[in-house]
């Protein structure tokens, strides 16, 4: 028979006639008690050992108890001091005796409570009398405490000591005084079975120890006879790298999931587009400050030719004369040449315009919901919260008779998915929506109120020329703003662009 080394040691230390405790075997073999226990159970499973468990009460002395073993119990010290002061003959002042006994703080109360209980004497009107017939050294509590201390000194395992010669009543009293702690303790003992004796008689060899499971070991079946070396399973393991999706992409995915779940279809379209789609369709006057070269990235390519002429005419008319019987246009210059110039889009509302007009595909009939999470370009100052390029979440709903209440309900639902409740709608102004609202919400962690979007119902000067004769409500929001809330990033440049820190990306917390 072959057994792992530690099992063999335990088997050899066990006796067929005497019960031996785990602690005894551990002491004999030099193995850790938990290793012996494990081996004992393994041997029991092989029917080589019997394991019996007994449960006893164990007592462990407390720090306070230890102190009293050294100095004497407070009531004993009080008795001695009183005796020295002559209290056996006449009552003596309590203050004097307490000073002489060197009792301090809670010890005074302890002494005064136990002194009369043990019949050491009486306490009356601030004076002490002792019963000279009592020998304070013949006190079962002090004796038991000293015995427990001795046992504890002899065994440094600190798991309590079994005392068979201490009276239970005395033990309970010591426990209630907080001088010892009592606990149930299981002791396991082993004896050799007949099979165990036989195996030892026949001779047991030590099994081989191996470091790693190998294909050969598995194939040959040798794994049955080997012992695996123990590891320090608490030791640090080397870091495992591995790729992960960019944290902003993950935030975008989450946004897309929510919007798809709310019935929105994704839009797609060019980054470089004509000013017509970017601004003119949005009823942004051509002399609007946001359309000056300071705010847009104009591109050095020829103007865009392919824009439906009828659409251009209708948009120009809305700018010049207004839309509808009572509409006024802007009193601003409007030139088709400017409308055809190509620039990087400042918002993805250019996609909304392409879809609403039918230019991006089929003519749309209400109801419709569309969204995009795509990049936009603005000439802002680069700082921790602003980039020249960022992702805009854009969404719109097209339906008959939409109201401001529908807008509020839709956006409340969207933000609730990100833990932002209590969305506040502040009336606002945009050239392309009326009514318009800035959306504010409380940061889920800091509680700070922050702007979380801009929304409104597209003006008829926007929808009319596009050929849409129902209502369209829309909103926009920077994805980075949402991501900074969910990742805790403080500088957006850590995330986005060639200055990004690869360690930051590797360690970004996963949110879902």
């Amino acid at each position: 028979m072959r057994l792992p080394e530690r099992q063999l040691a335990v088997l050899e230390a066990a006796s067929a006639t005497d019960e031996r405790t785990i602690d005894q075997i551990a002491a004999e073999t030099g193995l850790k008690p938990e290793t012996v226990t494990g081996a004992a159970f393994d041997l029991r499973d092989e029917d080589l050992l019997d394991v019996t468990e007994t449960s006893v009460e164990a007592a462990e002395i407390t720090d306070e108890g230890s102190a009293y073993v050294a100095d004497g119990l407070p009531e004993t010290r009080l008795h001695r001091a009183a005796a020295d002061a002559g209290a056996a003959d006449d009552p003596v002042s309590m203050g004097e005796v307490i000073g002489r006994a060197d009792l301090a703080g809670p010890e005074v109360d302890i002494a005064l409570a136990n002194f009369p209980r043990k019949g050491f004497g009486t306490v009356d009107s601030g004076e002490l009398t002792i019963d000279a017939s009592v020998d304070p050294d013949d006190d079962p509590e002090a004796t038991a405490l000293a015995a427990i201390q001795n046992a504890s000194d002899a065994d440094d395992a600190g798991d309590g000591d079994v005392l068979t010669d201490v009276d239970d009543e005395v033990l309970d009293r010591l426990a209630s005084r907080g001088l010892v702690e009592l606990a149930e303790r299981t002791t396991r003992s082993v004896t050799l079975t007949d099979a165990g004796v036989t195996a030892l008689m026949e001779g047991v060899e030590v099994a081989e120890t191996v470091a790693q499971v190998t294909p050969e070991l598995l194939a040959s079946g040798e794994w049955r006879d080997v012992e695996f070396t123990e590891y320090d399973v608490e030791a640090d393991a080397p870091d495992v790298g591995g790729g992960r999706k960019h944290v902003l992409r993950r935030t975008a995915d989450r946004v897309k999931d929510v919007l798809v779940g709310m019935g929105f279809q994704e839009m797609e379209g060019p980054h470089a587009d004509s000013d017509f789609w970017i601004n003119d369709c949005l009823f942004m006057p051509q002399d609007h400050p946001a359309r000056t070269h300071w705010d847009r990235f104009a591109l050095d390519v020829p103007p865009m030719d392919d824009i439906p002429k009828t659409l251009i005419d209708r948009v120009e008319s809305a700018h010049r004369e207004g839309y509808g019987d009572d509409g006024d246009g802007y009193h601003s210059p409007w030139s088709e040449a400017f409308a055809r110039e190509v620039a990087l889009r400042g918002h993805t509302t250019s996609l909304s315009m392409r879809y609403l007009s039918g230019y991006a595909g089929a003519e749309l009939e209400p109801p419709q919901r569309y969204f995009s999470v795509e990049k936009v370009y603005r000439n802002d100052t680069l700082d921790p919260t602003h980039l020249l390029e960022f992702f805009q979440i854009e969404g719109w709903v097209m339906a008959e008779d939409l109201s401001v209440r529908d807008l509020m309900g839709t956006f409340e639902e969207f933000y609730r998915q990100f833990g932002i409740t209590d969305v506040r709608f502040k009336p606002h102004y945009n050239p392309y929506t009326e009514p318009s609202f800035e959306l504010f919400g409380k940061h889920p962690e800091t509680g700070e109120e922050i702007e979380i979007g801009n929304s409104g119902i597209f003006r008829e000067e926007v929808t009319g020329p596009l050929g849409v004769d129902c209502d369209v409500m829309a909103w926009g929001l920077a994805l980075e703003r949402l991501a900074m809330l969910t990742t805790g990033a403080e500088d957006i440049r850590d995330l986005h662009g060639t200055l990004a820190d690869i360690e930051f990306l590797r360690n970004a917390e996963v949110s879902y």
């Binding site: 000439n379 009326e434 200055l499």
Partner: protein, 578 residues
């Protein structure tokens, strides 16, 4: 967004609410959309607001809004105007680029320091907003007592003339100067002149206003010192010139309302365009100004109810209009329709929809209960982003750190540092789409390929642990006049392996794995590319089309990026995996 400075004492006086403290005003104004931003050194309160209600660019307009809000005023108010005594003649010499003029005479003004400051603020803020930096409209305010006008025609006692002047054709003493300067000299020798020179310097003749004594104002640049307004001024001449008659008329109306709120009397002026001058088409050649006419628009009860999602009694709607400073009457036909009167300072009302917004604000948008619309639609992702995501998942599974780089870059980063020439037939060698007026040397064009971004990221992370395997599926663009926008936009899949053992094999192995995932047939015939080592670079041919490049990055390119480890990389067009 515009900011208005408000003296709280003036606000108390102008609203008549002398008992209200600053805090109450701040709260009430927040409700009107004016957000408290801070205080000036003089203790004025600064409020920021969206640029629709430009009538709130002075304390007088803010006070008027508050009086409507508090219910002190209701309905439309129009100040009375007295008959004209002055005429503004428009001469045919007026520059074609700035043909229009309007104005008003203001009598009985009592300007203390605060009132004068407020008037100057209103003028400057109107210049910055409606006036588009004075290009579209500029306001000149003069002390009328210093203007001398000879009677020109019967009924009009006095006149001034708006005309053109040769750059060196005359002289005057401008504000903040002591010497006589020609208009041309103002543009070069005077601080304000230099600031606004670009508005007029291309003109053959400069705009000028003359009275009997000569040139006294050079719009839109600067007034003359002779007619400077002081706290002692009791009568004012307001003139506005610009490129659009409607715009300057409305700016003039806002100024007249502000002065009227301080107890001044408005007096009309006649504006007469001479035969050779270009009079505004919609108004003719003889105008009486200021134009304080009320505008009218109609809106149906049904539109108000559906847009706000609330049912109203017509009286409630009329009440909301009146509390907004509008007047409304309605007819109880089949459909209730409101005829709404709009005062001339409401430059933001372009459409009946704007009136619905006023009803909503007066009713209180906070009082509307949100509801989720009962509309069924089917959601879904676009095929392009689904493909992108699927490829990204493959790359991440191969251990690549997914990157997100800027689409804008510089020619140096995109070509020079990669050893690539623009306009060559290699990946990344496409013609650039350049930004016409770049603000920074680092962002002058769109990137034609993604690998330069990856190398720049590696360059910035040499202090971090290796291996650094990075990838990006990102936007690239090049000039292509066969495209509708003249820009060819596409997405490239790029991966770079930066590690001690990075080799051609390492890059190709990963490339192969991605292609296998999408059942794309990959072959890699040898090629040349200036960013890679000769003999260790191949074309990426997927399903028979050449769509990219794979290889070991050239040491010269590595050193250029301060890299001390080998890098193997691939880049190809995402569409090849479709």
């Amino acid at each position: 967004m515009p900011v208005v400075d408000v003296d709280p004492d003036e606000l108390r006086q102008l609203t008549g609410h002398t008992d209200k403290d600053d805090k109450t005003f701040k709260q009430d104004l927040f409700g009107l959309g004016l957000e408290f931003e801070g205080e000036t050194d003089d203790g004025d309160l600064q409020f920021e607001f969206a640029p629709d209600r430009l009538d709130r660019l002075s304390v007088e307009g803010v006070a008027r809004s508050l009086r409507y809000h508090y219910g002190d005023d209701r309905g439309v108010y129009v100040p009375d105007t007295n008959d004209p005594e002055w005429t503004i003649e428009v001469d045919e010499s007026v520059p074609d680029e700035r043909p229009y003029v309007t104005g008003a005479v203001i009598r009985g003004v009592d300007l203390d320091e605060a009132a004068l400051e407020s008037l100057i603020q209103l003028q400057e803020k109107l210049h910055a907003t409606m006036g588009r930096g004075r290009a579209k409209g500029a306001i000149g305010i003069h002390d009328l007592a210093m203007v001398k006008g000879a009677p020109l025609k019967e009924g009009a006692e006095r006149s001034i003339t708006y005309r053109g002047v040769e750059p060196e054709g005359d002289t005057f003493v401008p504000l903040d100067a002591n010497d006589e300067l020609s208009p041309a000299a103002v543009l070069t020798d005077h601080g304000t002149g230099r600031e606004y020179a670009d508005l007029v310097e291309a003109y053959d003749r400069y705009p000028a206003i003359y009275d009997e004594l000569g040139l006294f104002s050079f719009p839109p640049v600067i007034n003359g010192r002779r007619t400077e307004v002081t706290t002692g001024s009791r009568e004012l001449l307001v003139e506005l010139t610009g490129t659009d008659q409607w715009t300057i008329d409305r700016m003039c109306a806002i100024v007249c309302y502000a002065l009227s709120a301080r107890g001044a009397t408005i007096e009309s002026v006649e504006v007469e365009y001479a035969d050779g001058a270009s009079a505004p088409e919609q108004y003719g050649s003889e105008l009486v100004r200021p134009n304080l006419d009320i505008d009218e628009k109609s809106v149906t009860h049904d539109r108000i109810e559906t847009l706000l999602g609330v049912e109203f009694e017509p009286e409630e709607v009329v009440d909301c209009f009146e509390r907004s400073g509008l007047d409304a009457t309605y007819t109880l036909d089949e459909e209730v329709t409101y005829e709404v009167e709009i005062p001339p300072y409401r430059v933001d009302v372009l459409h009946p929809l704007d009136l619905v917004d006023d009803v909503g604000r007066a009713y209180g948008f906070d009082n509307l209960a949100p509801r989720y619309p009962d509309i069924g639609t089917v959601g879904g992702r676009h095929e392009r982003t689904r493909l992108e995501d699927a490829v990204r998942t493959s790359l991440v599974g191969l251990g690549f750190e997914d990157l997100l780089n800027f689409h804008m870059t510089s020619g140096v980063a995109n070509y020079d540092r990669m050893n690539v020439e623009p306009g060559t037939d290699v990946l990344g060698g496409g013609e650039p789409v350049s930004i016409t007026e770049p603000y920074s040397e680092e962002y002058t064009q769109l990137r034609t390929w993604a690998l330069p971004s990856l190398l720049m990221l590696l360059e910035g992370n040499t202090h971090n642990t290796y291996p650094q395997d990075v990838s990006e599926i990102g936007f690239v663009a090049e000039r292509d006049e066969t495209e509708n926008t003249n820009v060819a936009e596409s997405r490239h899949v790029a991966g770079a392996v930066a590690r001690r053992d990075a080799s051609y094999e390492a890059a190709k192995g990963r490339l192969q794995s991605v292609c296998d995932d999408f059942r794309a047939d990959l072959s890699t015939p040898p090629t040349d590319h200036p960013s890679f080592i000769d003999g260790r670079v191949a074309e990426v041919v997927i399903d028979g089309d050449s769509v990219g490049v794979v290889g070991e990055v050239h040491p010269a390119v590595l050193v250029e990026h301060d890299l001390e480890v080998p890098v193997a990389a691939f880049e190809f067009d995402l569409d090849a995996l479709r």
